[in-house]
């Protein structure tokens, strides 16, 4: 029997209709139930039951012909919907064997090594500079809990989007033992990356900041928020393993975290070598398409001598010489002082790529 895998997020619900292993359709519904907003009007079950009907109608599916699986963080909601299986998100986030997946929603982050849930109004009393801005910021987070569907976008005050990312920015989502998981790509998924465009410098910077350990990492993006629904299907039936293995996630870049000064040598296929001396505390971009393989050699105080074949991506190769893993220097104060400059460096490189 076909499967409908449904994941309840912080601000939306993602549906994956699996008619067979190779035939699936996804849909992201961008609203969730809020007791504060809809409490006196209709119940949580009525809300989701009608949402299921609308999604089925939109995709021309018959709900009765699917086995329903539901997942959510920290738990799926307690609703009256017939299902055959339910599981908390943290139990199946690690199912994609070739990925170290990181799921970021409006107010939660789930990775194989950690779960972090931030009810936004907790972030109210940090020391900040300007009192007026403090009010704006405080009200912004309070409104996020009043209107959970609210999604920041780059068109509004960009400072607020950065503030929202700052909830998670100081966390480290890199694998516990990067050397042991060097064949795995880091996959960023969840509502934060749904439908984002690859030229969004704030999102790119956010990904780079979250990976703090020194090492070489291949970064992929799940811009359709498919991963968790696929992983839930796999948790229910192992034969769905191929879904994640064969899914085409966006290849963003290869990131080399090399804190401090480095010497860097790249061999391209045309037997042209490029030598660079990299300064500490900076971001370097090297164009390399997804299909390009580069051989790099690097000498760095922390990484030692590294020789690797690496693949490019939409943004090529990025070498990050900031000491992000040092908690004493990479603090919220340091980040807020420099973040605009880092984002502008990424922006410039994205713009240059267009010409």
């Amino acid at each position: 029997m076909p499967i409908l895998s449904v994941i309840f997020g912080d601000s939306g619900v993602s549906f994956l209709f699996l008619d067979s292993l190779s035939n699936y359709k996804a849909h992201n519904f961008p609203y969730i139930y809020s007791r504060d907003l809809f409490g006196g009007q209709y119940s949580e079950s009525a809300f989701y039951s009608e949402m299921f009907n609308i999604v089925c109608k939109t995709l021309k599916k018959d709900l009765n012909s699917y086995q329903v699986l539901i997942g959510g963080y920290p738990e799926p909601p307690r609703i009256e919907i017939n299902r055959v299986f339910e599981l908390p998100l943290s139990s199946f986030i690690h199912y994609g064997a070739i990925y170290h997946s990181v799921l970021i929603n409006n107010t939660s982050l789930v990775s194989p090594s950690r779960c972090f849930s931030a009810f936004p109004v907790k972030y109210l009393n940090d020391s900040l500079v300007d009192e007026t801005y403090e009010h704006v910021r405080t009200n912004y987070f309070a409104n996020m809990s009043a209107f959970p569907m609210y999604k920041s976008n780059s068109k509004e005050d960009p400072a607020l989007l950065i503030e929202k990312d700052n909830i998670f920015r100081l966390l480290d989502v890199s694998p516990k033992h990067p050397d042991m998981e060097k064949d795995k790509s880091i996959l960023f998924s969840g509502e934060r990356f749904l439908n984002i465009e690859l030229d969004n410098a704030k999102s790119v910077e956010f990904c780079l900041d979250l990976i703090k350990k020194p090492g070489v990492f291949q970064i992929k993006l799940d811009t359709q928020n498919l991963y968790s629904a696929m992983a839930l299907a796999q948790a229910y039936d192992q034969s769905y393993e191929t879904l994640i293995l064969e899914a085409e996630f966006t290849n963003l870049c290869t990131l080399i975290n090399a804190p401090g000064a480095s010497e860097f040598l790249v061999y391209t296929g045309n037997s042209e070598n490029k030598y660079m001396e990299l300064l500490p505390d900076a971001l370097y971009f090297l164009p390399a398409s997804e299909k390009t393989q580069l051989a790099v050699k690097m000498k760095n105080g922390v990484l030692g001598t590294v020789e690797r074949y690496i693949q490019g991506g939409a943004l090529g190769l990025i070498v990050d010489t900031r000491d992000k893993s040092n908690e004493k220097t990479f603090t919220s104060h340091y980040v807020s002082k420099n973040i605009k400059e880092w984002i502008s460096v990424i922006d410039k490189n994205i713009c240059m790529r267009r010409f």
Binding site: D36, F38, G40, N139, Y140
Partner: protein, 345 residues
């Protein structure tokens, strides 16, 4: 494209409201009685104040089981300091400590609503079936309060303090709608004056925390930091000036009793507002409320996107991922991205 439907103003029939005496007294109505807001439902003798006296107090006279002391008479001394009775009351002892309790006074329980008594718990409480207008708040503090509603005429920031100080005499125990925005200094003053609830379009989170700490009810209809209230909500509030209203913190609603008979002069104004807010009803069979509706041109929306958070407008056009919204007070159309809006009914 579909979006949830939010009903911010609801007219409800057959709502049960419990009116209870604070302590056991007597009830003066029976099942089936028709009541109006000022109908007396019952009475109890209530002592409103109770003071625990210092442990080191030496009484002026020998203590007997329950001593009556009139106001301003000496109760005793703590060191060289005299302790005077702040009101007429009784001196008693509780767990070895002296307690001075105000003499019980008559407390009349008023109906506060138009309706019919459906049940009476003898000498304790009365259940009244009534008709109400529920107005949904976006956020509020958690307590339940009730009182007379005073509505400021949507004043500017400079005038609202003036209203609070000069024009609204005796605001103690009342609920005040202060305008688009509840400023911190105004809320501070309201706490000093013993106001029991403040309603506004928006307020800063900091002001909210201040109200919470001081057990003042603060409810906002638009959003944190917002300086705007929808016309439909303001029209309802304006029409029920001086009405006895109920604030339910847990459910985040302002419940306004609606007149059932047409003997009250304010009913006409409510009826007028109702006509503005509600579309004419056709005689169709009752359906369960719609949770979602297709987003279409002409629909009313509540915007949840900065800097128009909490504003209401009309959809001008619908795109794949966004809508264009026309606001009453803006010439230009504003682009609002999915899902930063809700449909308003």
């Amino acid at each position: 494209m579909y979006a949830p439907v939010l009903k911010r103003i609801k007219y409800l029939d057959n709502v049960l409201i419990e009116r209870a005496l604070p302590v056991k007294g007597f009830t003066s109505v029976r099942d089936g009685d028709t009541v109006e807001p000022f109908t007396k439902l019952g009475m109890a003798k209530v002592s409103f104040s109770k003071i625990f006296l210092p442990e080191r107090i030496k009484l002026g006279q020998e203590f007997s089981n329950k001593m009556f002391i009139t106001a301003k008479k000496e109760v005793g001394r703590v060191g060289f300091r005299r302790v005077l009775a702040p009101f007429d009351g009784y001196l008693t002892k509780e767990n070895g400590r002296f307690v001075f309790q105000e003499e019980p006074r008559d407390y009349w329980l008023l109906s506060g609503v138009w309706g019919q008594v459906v049940s009476v718990v003898k000498d304790k409480s009365v259940l009244v079936k009534t008709r109400v207008i529920d107005v949904k708040m976006v956020a509020c503090t958690n307590q339940n309060v009730s009182g007379e509603l005073i509505v400021f005429p949507n004043p500017s920031d400079t005038l609202e303090m003036h209203y609070l100080e000069k024009f609204s005499r005796d605001v103690h125990g009342k609920i005040i709608y202060v305008g688009d925005f509840a400023a911190k200094r105004l809320v501070k003053r309201a706490i000093e004056l013993g106001v029991s609830g403040i309603l506004a379009g928006g307020a800063d989170k900091e002001t909210f925390d201040l109200a919470k700490q001081n057990s003042l009810f603060l409810g906002i209809f638009t959003g944190y930091g917002s300086e705007y209230i929808s016309n439909a909500i303001f029209e309802v509030l304006k029409s029920v000036f001086n009405r006895y209203v109920f604030l339910y913190g847990e459910e985040m609603i302002l419940r306004i009793p609606d007149a059932i008979s047409s003997t009250n002069p304010s009913i006409d104004s409510v009826a007028k507002v109702r006509k503005v807010v509600e579309k004419p009803k056709k005689s169709v069979p009752k359906e369960s409320p719609k949770v979602f509706k297709e987003v279409q041109k002409g629909e009313k929306v509540l915007v949840v996107q900065y800097p128009y958070l909490g504003w209401e407008g009309i959809i001008d056009s619908v795109d794949e991922r966004s809508i264009l919204v026309k606001f009453d007070n803006k010439k230009d159309l504003i682009q609002v991205f999915l899902p930063n809006f809700l449909l308003v009914e």
